[in-house]
């Protein structure tokens, strides 16, 4: 792995919405992403996991350049690409591409697949029509669709096929980093498997790096090199996938893992780890956002948001409790 991450995000914050108008109810902006830092190394799969509304999509769109960051820095191969106006930002980040959460809705229903796919090439300066057609045909084949698909329209495809089309569309632009926003949500198990398989294949073939956004822990566990758990706009835990799944440290991560349904069947039902509802993102709390749902909350948690601190090499957690636990366990080791 190269020493310079292909994509680095430093203390990124994003504010969304908000309205103040004459005689109108003022709507406060949503702090959708708060001081997020991520490193994505070439060739790896980094998964971003979190509940609905925690800011995963917003983070992805901001990295892509569709959403303007309110603070922080984004570096592509060491170059700063943040702080630009939206269209300039998008141009500077053309090696990053994004696959939408809802692949079907991301296609113009009035355009045939062929035209839609060619359009990307056209925008990126491929003027020769036959070259475009050839490349589209080749790409369709690469994602496992036959060339006749080019003549059809989005509504004529199934969910799994639409994901393939969405991938084909952005792969034509020869990206190096792909942000995959829940690429398997809403798919059947069998289809999901084929799509995941395709993703792995394509990664090999085109030397891609993935930022994989998902809430499906089973998939994430199997697929990713590293994971980052997000809660209400913040990364609360990040580290190598194996380690995080083996030793979930943040109480939220544990909650998530406990809640995920597993084929292994009925876990001992007892008082559940999970309490309360997913949080309201407009709420601004001074302390840890997970405070009200946390089974091990302490008074200090209410005062200031905990910062990400390493608990093991490459494994960072933002939790006062984890830190105490760790020092305690270190102390115990010393004592032992």
């Amino acid at each position: 792995m190269s020493p310079v991450p292909i994509l680095a995000v430093r203390d990124l914050s994003v504010r969304l919405g908000g309205r103040k108008g004459f005689l109108q109810r003022t709507i406060l902006p949503v702090q959708a992403v708060k001081q997020v830092s991520l490193d994505l190394r070439a060739g790896e799969i980094l998964s971003l996991v979190g509940e609905s509304g925690c800011g995963k999509t917003t983070l992805g769109r901001t990295i892509l350049g569709l959403q303007r960051e309110s603070a922080g820095e984004i570096l592509l191969e060491g170059r700063t690409v943040s702080g630009l106006a939206p269209e300039a930002a998008r141009r500077a980040r053309s090696i990053v591409q994004y696959a939408h959460q809802d692949a079907g809705a991301a296609l113009d229903p009035w355009w045939s697949i062929g035209r839609t796919l060619e359009e990307g090439l056209l925008i990126h300066g491929v003027r020769n029509a036959s070259e475009r057609r050839d490349r589209v045909a080749a790409m369709l084949q690469a994602v496992g669709l036959d060339a006749t698909s080019a003549r059809r329209y989005p509504h004529e495809f199934s969910g799994g096929q639409l994901r393939r089309l969405a991938l084909a569309r952005i792969l034509l632009l020869q990206p190096r980093v792909l942000i995959l926003d829940e690429p398997t949500s809403g798919l059947d198990m069998s289809v999901q498997a084929t799509v995941l398989n395709l993703l792995l294949e394509l990664r090999e073939r085109f030397a891609l790096t993935y930022l994989f956004i998902s809430h499906d822990l089973s998939v994430v566990e199997r697929l990713s090199d590293r994971v980052a758990i997000m809660y209400l706009g913040r990364i609360v835990e990040s580290g190598p996938a194996k380690q995080v799944f083996a030793q979930p440290t943040h109480p939220y991560t544990r909650t998530l893992l406990a809640a995920a349904p597993r084929l292994t069947g009925r876990r001992a039902s007892g008082p559940s780890l999970v309490r309360g509802d997913p949080p309201n993102p407009t709420l601004v709390l001074p302390g840890c956002a997970f405070f009200d749902r946390c089974p091990v909350a302490m008074p200090v948690c209410q005062e200031a948001p905990p910062r990400l601190e390493p608990v093991a090499p490459g494994h960072d957690v933002a939790c006062y409790g984890a830190f105490i636990e760790q020092t305690a366990s270190i102390g115990a080791k010393r004592r032992a």
Binding site: A193, L217, S218, R222, A259, P261, R262, G265, S272
Partner: protein, 329 residues
């Protein structure tokens, strides 16, 4: 023991622009009293249609060609619309819909909608001796508030006065569960009630459902596409493929030793079990043109010529599950 609900050989087709679509071909299942039956199948296999057929709310153009739906000893298919309304819906069969976001009428207060149901279907609704009018309404409100409290809906007293959009997704699903239980039905049918929810919320709802089944002594038919959920919640399982029941039996048995090639393939795709992500080759046959023979044969790795001869009969697998496959015929 007689099952609460038993569906036998149900066949439903819908007239479409392209022709007659056989949505359900041959579905059979039994739900014993006090148990939870999981109905699993891929998208489009006819799960919702099955529910609609049971509750008598098939879309326009749909016909039941064959089959029986027995509920507490009565054939529901013989009921008229009015009879179903009077005697079955809500009062004896509760329903929990898939998407809590869309299932509540956005422009009416939650209480209005729930009380509308109770007004016609609550156990005391047709009781001439009980309280009437305002008093009865008050009793209904009291029961609802109690239920909502049981469902851990915050502020159950004021909840009835609020509109659906003022609740979060999980809360709305709890409201819908409360509505399903409001008239104390013996059977509750849930159509993928947790797919639209977060894992943490889903987990809470599943726990809640399990508690309710025990507490209220109801039987639950739980439709889903997620084996994980089934494993966690259900006692029995019924796997549907392209409008046919392909395997049914106790959950444990099937998960441990799936017998039908489809069940096996599907389970093999699950990330918890998959060695590699491969999926099942091919695709589900179109309901407009069902192939002869076993419907899974075109995708089956063990397919033999016999499979193409005709629809395979039900057989008993060693695991104790009933399986529709020539292997066990």
């Amino acid at each position: 023991m007689m099952p609460v609900l038993s569906v036998r050989g149900l066949k439903v087709s819908i007239r479409t622009d392209e022709g007659m679509a056989e949505i359900l071909d041959d579905v059979g299942l039994e739900l014993e009293r006090g148990r939870i039956l999981g109905v699993v199948g891929e998208s489009g296999c006819g799960k919702s249609t099955l529910i609609r057929a049971i509750m008598g709310i098939l879309p326009r153009g749909a016909t039941i060609d064959r089959g029986e739906v027995w509920f507490e000893g009565e054939n529901l298919l013989a009921f008229s619309e009015a009879e179903l309304n009077d005697q079955v819906r809500s009062s004896r069969i509760g329903f929990i819909p898939q998407d809590p976001l869309l299932a509540l009428n956005p422009v009416f207060k939650v209480g209005t909608q729930m009380l509308e149901v109770m007004r016609w279907h609550a156990p005391d609704a047709k009781d001439p001796t009980g309280p009437r009018g305002g008093a009865r309404r008050k009793a209904h409100v009291a029961r609802l508030v109690g239920l909502l409290r049981r469902m851990q809906v915050p502020d159950p007293e004021t909840a009835l006065e609020r509109y659906p959009h003022q609740f979060s997704g999980g809360q709305r699903q709890r409201l819908l569960i409360a509505a399903a239980l409001a008239c104390a039905p013996g059977l509750v049918i849930a159509d993928e009630p947790t797919t639209a929810l977060d894992v943490t919320t889903q987990h809470q709802i599943l726990l809640l459902l399990r508690e309710l089944v025990a507490e209220f002594g109801i039987s639950l038919m739980f439709v889903t596409h997620d084996f994980g959920v089934v494993a966690e919640l259900c006692d029995d399982l019924c796997v549907i493929y392209a409008g046919q029941t392909v395997e049914k039996g106790p959950v444990q048995a099937i998960l441990e030793a799936p017998s039908h090639p489809y069940t096996r393939a599907l389970l093999a795709c699950h990330p918890d079990r998959a060695t590699t992500f491969l999926g099942i080759p091919g695709s589900v046959p179109s309901p407009l043109a069902r192939p002869p023979g076993c419907l899974f044969a075109p995708r089956c790795t063990d397919a033999r010529t016999l499979c193409l001869a005709g629809r395979p009969p039900q057989g008993l697998a060693p695991s104790g599950a009933e399986v529709r496959c020539v292997q066990f015929a």
